[in-house]
Symmetry: C2
């Protein structure tokens, strides 16, 4: 017989966006919402909620994210399931966590006001439950993702300048890179294609736009 009626299922979502951070270093920012009930009342938490029995996991993650933040990423990926016996003081809660990387313009669609607050992912306050651990795990996964082209595409869109691409690498790594060295190293990448176009709105020596080979 099933032994789990005492277990509650939840979903949470972690969004990363690229925005200027402290000392103008591009950083990864993540939106949080305040807890409106106990436990952890008023602490910041990842957007999420309970899983209704008839809703798919990813649909529940997308819906609770939209309801609390106004964000609608085109696609959510399952990150990990957090289920430690003691992670919630009110009984066993297992949370399936989804994540997405969004472009800065998409991030701006988040509901303004006090219900959503963005924090730099590596400078967080004390969050509700084990949410600090969840963000830490997500950052680690992001840093070991091999496909930087995929990460850059998510944050920047189809085309980008070399400086924009460098800012993605800097944000994920968490430190500055030498601009000349970076330019040299990507120039030799066979996956990077010069589109022949330049960045609009930059009259003097406008930077070239590149894209990744499909």
């Amino acid at each position: 017989m099933p032994a789990s009626p005492e277990i509650q299922m939840a979903v949470s979502t972690i969004i990363f966006a690229l925005r200027p951070g402290p000392q103008d270093l591009p950083s990864l920012w993540t939106p949080f919402v305040p807890r409106t009930r106990e436990p952890h009342l008023n602490k910041w938490a990842l957007p999420g909620g309970w899983l209704p029995p008839h809703e798919e996991l990813e649909d529940a993650a997308a819906r609770t994210l939209a309801e609390t933040t106004g964000l609608h990423p085109s696609y959510l990926e399952q990150l990990y399931t957090f289920g430690k016996v003691d992670r919630s003081p009110t009984g066993r809660v297992i949370s399936v966590v989804y994540w997405a990387l969004v472009r800065a313009d998409e991030a701006l669609k988040a509901i303004p006001g006090e219900n959503v607050q963005w924090f730099p992912a590596d400078h967080l306050p004390e969050l509700a439950f084990d949410h600090n651990d969840i963000v830490k795990y997500a950052l680690e996964r992001l840093r070991t993702k091999v496909e930087y082209s995929e990460i850059a595409h998510s944050f920047l869109g189809e085309t980008f300048t070399i400086a924009q691409l460098r800012s993605v690498h800097e944000a994920v790594l968490g430190h500055k890179l030498d601009a000349a060295n970076f330019r040299r190293s990507v120039a030799t990448s066979p996956d990077l294609i010069d589109t022949g176009e330049v960045l609009a709105g930059t009259p003097h020596r406008p930077p070239k736009l590149f894209r990744f080979q499909r």
Copy 2:
């Protein structure tokens, strides 16, 4: 209020071992156990069971694996959580799936007899629930794992011959590789270290043993 009392939580585990397969091609094999109750009575299923409210996810996966197969891999990794609304005919069941790669000698410790049966992972019968999809997903993840050194280490242990290493690549890819080409391509890998030792028990031209750089 929590909306999930009607949701049941389960764990399952998928084990891959390297064994000779059809036409002597090294293959990935996976153990299954027969369903002893409805739904899907008598069909083959991944080892697993219900999650007790006070047991950690990974502990429950390891325990149910050991109880049904006798296997005790040194470590289980969380693979993915499968939770489609209609994946079980008896109500919502969410299954957190763990996986491990084991060496052939470890695989032999599985309980012999009719309660465990190993199948080649890419030639499976119709399994219970969505377990065919789960194995397919695991194979895909294995094939896109970048760290072949890690996969080889799990299957072969600390040291191995070039032929053994090739058999790992062949099993994961699912097709034969040219022996001379493979030897040439790995010979240039800076991560592969000649141990100076040779395979024991092979009197004539015993093959050299290699290991991966840490």
